[in-house]
Symmetry: D4
Subunit: 227 residues, 8 copies
Amino acid sequence: VTGSETPAGRFATPDPDRRRRTGVPEVVFAEGKTVDQTFALLARLRHDDPGVPALATRCPPDVLAGAADEFASEEVAVDPVARTVRVGACPPARGDVVVVSAGTSDLPVAAECRETLAALGVGTREVVDVGVAGLHRLLDRLDDVARADVVVVVAGMDGVLPGVVRGLVAAPTIGVPTSVGYGVAADGRTALGTMLASCSPGVAVVNIDNGFGAAVHAASIVRGRRP
Amino acid sequence: VTGSETPAGRFATPDPDRRRRTGVPEVVFAEGKTVDQTFALLARLRHDDPGVPALATRCPPDVLAGAADEFASEEVAVDPVARTVRVGACPPARGDVVVVSAGTSDLPVAAECRETLAALGVGTREVVDVGVAGLHRLLDRLDDVARADVVVVVAGMDGVLPGVVRGLVAAPTIGVPTSVGYGVAADGRTALGTMLASCSPGVAVVNIDNGFGAAVHAASIVRGRRP
Amino acid sequence: VTGSETPAGRFATPDPDRRRRTGVPEVVFAEGKTVDQTFALLARLRHDDPGVPALATRCPPDVLAGAADEFASEEVAVDPVARTVRVGACPPARGDVVVVSAGTSDLPVAAECRETLAALGVGTREVVDVGVAGLHRLLDRLDDVARADVVVVVAGMDGVLPGVVRGLVAAPTIGVPTSVGYGVAADGRTALGTMLASCSPGVAVVNIDNGFGAAVHAASIVRGRRP
Amino acid sequence: VTGSETPAGRFATPDPDRRRRTGVPEVVFAEGKTVDQTFALLARLRHDDPGVPALATRCPPDVLAGAADEFASEEVAVDPVARTVRVGACPPARGDVVVVSAGTSDLPVAAECRETLAALGVGTREVVDVGVAGLHRLLDRLDDVARADVVVVVAGMDGVLPGVVRGLVAAPTIGVPTSVGYGVAADGRTALGTMLASCSPGVAVVNIDNGFGAAVHAASIVRGRRP
Amino acid sequence: VTGSETPAGRFATPDPDRRRRTGVPEVVFAEGKTVDQTFALLARLRHDDPGVPALATRCPPDVLAGAADEFASEEVAVDPVARTVRVGACPPARGDVVVVSAGTSDLPVAAECRETLAALGVGTREVVDVGVAGLHRLLDRLDDVARADVVVVVAGMDGVLPGVVRGLVAAPTIGVPTSVGYGVAADGRTALGTMLASCSPGVAVVNIDNGFGAAVHAASIVRGRRP
Amino acid sequence: VTGSETPAGRFATPDPDRRRRTGVPEVVFAEGKTVDQTFALLARLRHDDPGVPALATRCPPDVLAGAADEFASEEVAVDPVARTVRVGACPPARGDVVVVSAGTSDLPVAAECRETLAALGVGTREVVDVGVAGLHRLLDRLDDVARADVVVVVAGMDGVLPGVVRGLVAAPTIGVPTSVGYGVAADGRTALGTMLASCSPGVAVVNIDNGFGAAVHAASIVRGRRP
Amino acid sequence: VTGSETPAGRFATPDPDRRRRTGVPEVVFAEGKTVDQTFALLARLRHDDPGVPALATRCPPDVLAGAADEFASEEVAVDPVARTVRVGACPPARGDVVVVSAGTSDLPVAAECRETLAALGVGTREVVDVGVAGLHRLLDRLDDVARADVVVVVAGMDGVLPGVVRGLVAAPTIGVPTSVGYGVAADGRTALGTMLASCSPGVAVVNIDNGFGAAVHAASIVRGRRP
Amino acid sequence: VTGSETPAGRFATPDPDRRRRTGVPEVVFAEGKTVDQTFALLARLRHDDPGVPALATRCPPDVLAGAADEFASEEVAVDPVARTVRVGACPPARGDVVVVSAGTSDLPVAAECRETLAALGVGTREVVDVGVAGLHRLLDRLDDVARADVVVVVAGMDGVLPGVVRGLVAAPTIGVPTSVGYGVAADGRTALGTMLASCSPGVAVVNIDNGFGAAVHAASIVRGRRP
């Protein structure tokens, strides 16, 4: 029996029920896919569930450059820092997630988180460059942070910021380690370990550089909150 | 200048403002402390903030055995599986967190999570032994799981269960890897990696065996939910 | 004594008896070899054992591009996704191995497995993109998977799929971790650990990205099965 | 909602369909369970599926010592080297799996594999202490090894033996790394890496010290072979 | 030539010049030595250089229990928390090193640092239990910390405290990671990584649990300071 | 609430008080920033605190090439080996830090340390290529090394030199591991471990390749020394 | 076919030809074997090859305590520090191997090396406690070390000594890392890495704590030297 | 004191005594050096010690391409596979070292070893592509291998070959792990671990890809052998 159970030319199995089941529509992880594959998947998502925008993350330059032409009849948002492409308008925003980042180099991961939240219909604010080397920068912004529904804290190098933030606020707090740094910090594992071992209980952590995953967890929290 | 800035006999600096600031009262991490230190800290917490129970986690046998006598005038709950001691009555429970565990050996970590949630005034249910070796055990309980406010999934060995659950439900989902297993699974790092790398977006993760931290994150979510 | 025991120009020692002894002919691992070395080795294999096709794996672009011309008088199959070159016709296929892959990015490793099995005279089918983020995709295909002689499951990131599959079928199941992913999943070690620690007993595992090795193990099983 | 979805006193969810679905009945992993839990689970397995024996692996001394009395009305086989308890008679043996071990210290893992195969109704032979420090010991036994349906090779320290064996035989070969050794070999990871990276294609590998898992994979192969 | 270049019974080669050369006398590392060896080495140090006390670190219980009797004619200081034995009076203290510890469980390492500094003739103060889970505890003590000649910060788990301190003070700051914690923090490597990767430049780090080494580095700084 | 708490176009939060608080002005870490970002940050630092030069470390080639033109009205020092750009004149040098390097390949890290010290107003000397393969090279220079206020020792590969130096001198000694080497030395972790585990007590260590951090720690020591 | 290819009661396959083939007789690795197994294997070795003594390494206390009685009719040498038992007289010693150890805690590994060399008929000398914290201790003994046929250098913690020695002598030099130390040095891997990455070319390395392996390599060198 | 103890333009400290002291002249490690630095160092070595050739290892393409012109008046040997440049004629060869390599991809490391031995005046032979996947290839060449003074065995992937060889011959045997392979074998650490943990006692090991170090150790053995 040599043959294929999958129709010729198929490289993906759709999961049309996902948004109803998990609250999150399918999203295209563009890394390692060809431009054609990514555009085809975005088009299918638009077709299957026109009620929400289609999102692609970790897009290579070709995808970022070609998206506007490919989907010329739609609203397209390309964010070269976040490396995201969104096709279709964002739903109205509800909720309030603050995305805090420790340093300038962490901004791409923070941007991926922000763009994902927007596509999921969640409101966001950003607080940038408040790493603990200058703790007063954070303390000056504390009221802005503390009143959010959810706090996402993005940090590389020593990964210290999420634990410090969680020791100061009551909102659900999500740590996102980044691969920013060198030496022992080079691949983000030091920042990851710091966040998992945090003395401040209640920090929940996602994979290194995974601003997308933090956004999905934050959105699941916002969906259930008091209006 | 030889001397000490800390009053003689002091081994801890209280943080009486913590509950107001972070929503979580101080909790005694009893591992590596003497019985006397643990009891003294529990007594201080009871005195400083009588409105909530005082909790000690990871208690050695001496603490578990002696707690009832030490605090004879109070309600004391000792859970030898969870290794927790609670002094003072639980607040009324609100919210609904389901604690799912993959195997019998994961029960102590699930119990620590449940006891912490109870002390924080959060309602809990448990679903046990539904690891993916027999996937239908989970599918049979899916409705029970899906209707919770928050899902905590405790799993050792391959750590597969949280990702499978998150692919089936929309509630905020927290993975707790455990150190159950041998060989590559011996210290829980394989389970931790699996959860962080999960194909199902939105799983947030805490440290290995950290049922306490999962409970604190879950409680922070419940506090903000619609009644 | 300065000199060489190996005849001038020789860079390899043939093992002409290997197919009789182990059931597997020599195969050229083209990575790190020059184009000339790879073509010379393929030609030698064709000459020494014309009864089976000669196969090269992990071929760089030069080898893929030049193979058809180099062996113009033979049947040549070049698969740029699998990065394989086969010279000579496949033997008639017997047996039924299903190659299941978790995501689109795992397809190259699945393709290497399929091409190797074909060259070894084993029949294959493929089931693609059925990762556990959408478990129903797998359950919908379960009958197709369960009736195979051997199941090969290719998965990166969390590496969850082989254990889930083995919990649902009785056939010998082989897990192939891939280096697909980022952060803790970046080099495939997380997927490898998950498969080795699987709660579903009986999953056997090969090296990361080693679709070739999985094929050889699967073929050794098929050779001994009931017709 | 504080309560439990699992009936009081329940610590496990049965999977009565597992043998029909996967070819392997449930087996009790006794490590980390109480003696009472292990005996209760064995009794339940005997009751639910009397057609096959009930097996417990990695039994602590109390379980090994008390099993004969606990199940006095049944055939009980206690193997203190393998650390297994079997309740109920083995099915008639079919097939021929040879379990090769590299050194004397690897015998417990080999014994766990052999006892599991016996409980699953598979015939076994053993070849012991044929590590590559004295290669001729293996070459002298090669015919015995080569004629088996499946070869399981158990080795600690450098983990070299499975690759050497697979280079000499055509049967499906499974490597089981053990935690025997010290220094870089102390936890079995060196042996595991060696087997996964083997130059001899077709070695499939299971977790460190996992004689049980190797047996289940071997049994799944034997079930499908020509009689 | 079978024999020994070292006089019979000798197990150590003295380095009498060390104090003059490096500013630090020899110190006995008692771990892994017999009680007799440790006492003999202390006696030799007292004999060779009576101007400074003799110190033994990481002493097992037998050494701690027997030291007072062994050196009955001398001033002996035994610290069971620090696990140190000092024979001979401390030199007059000069300088001002503050030893800050993050949690109660870090006190043994802080105590080893303090006892070593005292034996080297350096003045110390202590600030305890000011981990970042309650940042205000540290901010309340900041003036005490900032006026020291050198700051030693001892922290396990996430190892966050040294970087936070260094971002607030100008004094030379030394981080000492401890092996306090569990899961990813179990052996102190997470705390070590955090300190090395600190966003606050200028934190210098010593080995895990090495309060002794931090003291020696601090003393070398104090020796050169303005009086 | 979709919006940003940070003014449009802002990518950094200044910390103008840092020099007064910690003795170290802000420094631009140029890796991962655009040329425009780095130049903007340098200009801001010059504006906010004209009393000290502005420094950028780990500058990519574009920054090194363009700095002189960008700041044409100021004294600009570009060091392509150190990969630093300094804008503004150095303060008068005080103190005496010797920077010792083990091999020619360690010179970039030594140069970063030297340039940072100069910008901080600290005097430096260098001793190069005195690795322990030829120990007499170091012994010949020992007097030069021993009379320094602080010794910084930069070494890759085996990282042996700092411990050997600290066994010969009394000055505060800082080890800087570098990523020079291959095989087990490839990423600098072997050198880091050697320095942390040094038999010579009192070596303090900074992150791999972190000449900047060593300079900051050395400067904090020099600030407090006797004139 | 359930049965065993190995005669009943057999747990080892002898390799009587090993000494002729490799120059080294079989040696009993006693760790993980029962007392009876170790004594039986020693007796067999004495019987099979009476021309050389039988040696057991890494003997547990029972073996050390019982050996003299078990082999009462023979010369028996028990070394509790080396944890070796030798049965039968040593061959006449030839050659000159010097075993250098860095610290007192490294003596057991040095002793295992010395006892193995004696059993193999190789002459030894020892130089102890000459770690680089006091380099002059080594320089004082350099002539003793330099005139040896082979130098074995045993060191834990930072593992620095072998590279320093090899930079000073011309003889073949073997590094033996030990598991002495704590923190990053706890399991010997730091010392191992240092030796492998040594700047002094020509250091060859064996496994952690493997004094036996170093002795065998040294003996193979001595066998071929000029008399 | 800002200045430099090293004369202007100097980037290296010569060690002219090294050959007399250690038997090995200085060798230029060209990786990470500029072409000019490498040529300058080679010229200095030629000048300081004209009695032996000057050798550079791990040369980048520029050095390989330009060496013949740079040293036009001398005998120059450039080996692009070994990446070595030798300036000056080799001394007469004595001794007999056989360099065995497991696979074609290991040839560059074997070549570096051979070129170094030639420059040191040691005779070499080579045996290639005899990995254990086809064990008979090695057995066929065993007499060639066994009669050598020293055996160097170069192997990547599983690193099995050195242990197998040492179990068959009596000559001093050196294992050189290579970084050849993928997955768990990708950086050579699996091969390194296998060699260190070898069941065949007496294998000594050098760093990954370090053909040079193996040659230096082999040469130190040959120098002392019987003529």
